[in-house]
């Protein structure tokens, strides 16, 4: 894709993608990372994202959808600005992950894959995130929070609300 062509991605991400496809022996190897990075910026895999990624990698849109539907982190609908992912797999379960998950459900008023009305949070029960020795653990977007109890829930949500507010102010400044 030439820089002159319209891209739905920011110039920085578009440039990164231009380089990414050249990195591998086959362009198609860029597909999975490109989808994830695109989702990070756009929020989800919209039709427009899929169309542009297909063109960049050189496969059909159907093939992109086929691959994307396999990976649990990739989504076709928007999530909250902060996606709270609570691991309830065995090591976390043994140390109270379900209590934690229930508290998140209560505090946010949403269930698995739900999004709050203000779009700030979404919630997911996820499989093992590789923090078993520091269980129970969650990820908010890519940030890990570990060694948690249900008592931490309010504080965690508050810290992200604060972050959103600070970023909002910075944006309007």
């Amino acid at each position: 894709m030439t820089p002159e062509t319209m891209s739905i991605f920011s110039p920085k991400l578009a440039a990164r993608f231009d380089a990414l496809v050249e990195k591998y022996p086959l362009r198609r190897s860029a597909l999975v990372p490109m989808l994830l990075y695109a989702q990070d910026e756009i929020g989800y895999l919209s039709d427009a994202v899929i169309a542009e990624v297909a063109e960049r990698v050189g496969v059909t849109e159907l093939e992109v959808r086929n691959v994307a539907s396999y990976y649990s982190m990739l989504r076709f609908k928007p999530a909250g600005r902060y996606n709270v992912q609570v691991c309830t797999n065995i090591s976390c379960m043994l140390r109270g992950a379900y209590d934690l998950y229930e508290r998140f459900q209560e505090e946010l008023g949403i269930g698995h894959k739900g999004v709050t009305a203000d779009g700030l949070f979404s919630l997911e029960e996820v499989e093992c995130i590789g923090a078993c020795c520091w269980a129970p653990a969650i990820q908010v977007n890519y940030d890990f929070h570990d060694d948690l109890t249900a008592e931490h829930v309010t504080g965690i949500l508050e810290s992200y609300r604060g972050r959103a507010q600070a970023e909002g102010k910075a944006r309007h400044a």
Binding site: L36, Y70, M73, T88, N89, I90, E127, C128, C132, C133
Partner: protein, 436 residues
């Protein structure tokens, strides 16, 4: 931040630089880093493979295949380029050791990758991290960039005529991609479904070229084997099980954490001394010795059990990924079995029918069972279903789901019977609806 732990019984080889700032390349060099790679450049491939064979290092991903032998299978001459592929898709529940390696010692992964490349004659290595490990990928990317800047990677590594490039890659959430052939599919931009073997990756792998695939811990161990010598490394462990291993001890212990212990270390000691015993003064009910796919062991089975591939195998389980999950006597095994199978049902790629349908039926049966709607014949049915999944799939995920289920039913049959005929779970706090 993941907490670092230590215990006097630890032998720190792979973890010796944890917490020492070794993610910074200058600090890594100061701590003796990159000497192993230089040595390997001088000594050549045959020497490297002999050292690796002498080390009796076995694959840390779970299968325990001897690393030196694996490398020796790669043909010397190949029309297609050869590749090294590092499996950092760490996803086996109960396992978080690679997490610490990427966090604290990314250059050890780079060194191991280069050395594997030198051994098999590859010019490119891929380091694949699971998608959830984004902050670790950023650490890895920085380390790779720094290694390029120093000339340790590139067209002329360490000023030699040898070329070696490293490309990092992120996954996007899939347990199955930890299986080596599914990993290659994912790296080629496809769904992570397994390939039919043979041909094995050593002959036809990534992009059709001969490929060595090693777990991130295996790769991070390689420079230490070279530094200390294969024989010295082997001497730390038990027979045919060289060196140390990063054990992820989790669940109901006082001091969960990743501990580096010699291969063959006693499991009971690992729980009661290293892990500090069962928390809250409770009793040990069971232990999953090597990640969620390995059959559960009872307290009486761990008395004299040395944690190496052979001894745990003899005890009817597997050392797997070294994820030791400790379960206390206040835990419902039916619920634990249900959570385990729910994971495999979620992660089955759907390619092989026995796995796709088997995990689904097991989850349905166990959900119903745990909710108190089970009938007596369900117990045998669960076991029958699981046994019929064994060995009937392209990749080991089917077995990984079936093996623990069979063990739960066999070893805790009485507890399953206690859930029959509408009896409420004696442990459950969570009321679940029956899913038929």
């Amino acid at each position: 931040m993941p907490r670092l732990v230590s215990h006097p019984d630890e032998v720190k080889v792979v973890s010796q630089r944890f917490g020492m700032g070794a993610a910074k390349i200058d600090r890594y060099i100061e701590l003796g880093g990159y000497a192993a790679t230089k040595k390997c450049l001088e000594q050549g491939p045959e020497w490297i493979i002999e050292e690796m064979k002498a080390s009796s290092l076995r694959g840390r991903g779970g299968a325990g295949f001897p690393t030196g032998l694996k490398w020796s299978f790669v043909p010397k001459q190949s029309a297609k380029p050869k590749y090294v592929l590092v499996n950092g898709d760490e996803s086996e529940p109960g396992t978080c050791k690679d997490h610490l390696i990427f966090l604290h010692d990314p250059h050890a992964v780079i060194e191991g990758t280069i050395i594997a490349g030198l051994a098999i004659g590859a010019k490119t290595g891929f380091i694949y991290l699971r998608g959830e490990y984004r902050y670790l990928l950023e650490i890895m990317d920085k380390a790779v960039a720094d290694a390029y800047d120093k000339g340790f990677l590139g067209k002329h590594i360490f000023g030699s005529d040898t070329e070696f490039q490293i490309i990092t890659q992120t996954g996007a959430g899939a347990y199955e991609v930890g299986e080596e052939s599914a990993l290659m599919e994912s790296l080629e931009g496809k769904r992570g479904i397994p390939r039919i073997k043979p041909p094995f990756p050593a002959v036809v792998g990534l992009y059709g070229g001969p490929t060595v695939i090693n777990n991130a811990e295996t790769i991070a161990t390689v420079p230490h084997v070279i530094d200390m010598g294969g024989a010295a490394f082997a001497a730390i462990g038990s027979a045919r099980n060289g060196g140390t291993r990063l054990f992820s001890i989790s669940g109901h212990v006082q001091r969960p954490g990743v501990y580096e212990l010699p291969m063959g270390y006693n499991l009971k000691k690992m729980i009661y001394e290293v892990g500090g015993g069962i928390r809250g003064g409770r009793k040990l009910k069971a232990v999953v010795p090597g990640g969620s796919s390995t059959p559960v062991l009872l307290p009486e089975e761990i008395e004299n059990l040395g944690m190496d591939f052979d001894q745990v195998g003899k005890a009817g389980s597997m050392l797997g990924s070294g994820g030791v999950v400790v379960i206390d006597d206040q835990t419902c095994i039916v619920e634990f079995a249900l959570r385990t199978i729910s994971f495999y049902q979620h992660e089955s790629c759907g390619w092989c029918i026995p796995c796709r349908e088997g995990t689904d039926w097991l989850k349905k049966s166990l959900t119903r069972f745990h909710a108190g709607y089970g009938v007596a014949k369900d117990i045998d049915n669960i076991q029958y279903l699981a046994e019929n999944m064994m060995g009937r799939t392209f990749c080991p995920l089917g077995d990984a789901a079936a093996m623990p289920t069979i063990a739960f039913v066999k070893k805790f049959r009485k507890e399953f019977e206690e859930h029959l005929n509408g009896k409420p779970c004696p442990f459950a706090k969570h009321v679940e609806l029956a899913v038929i």
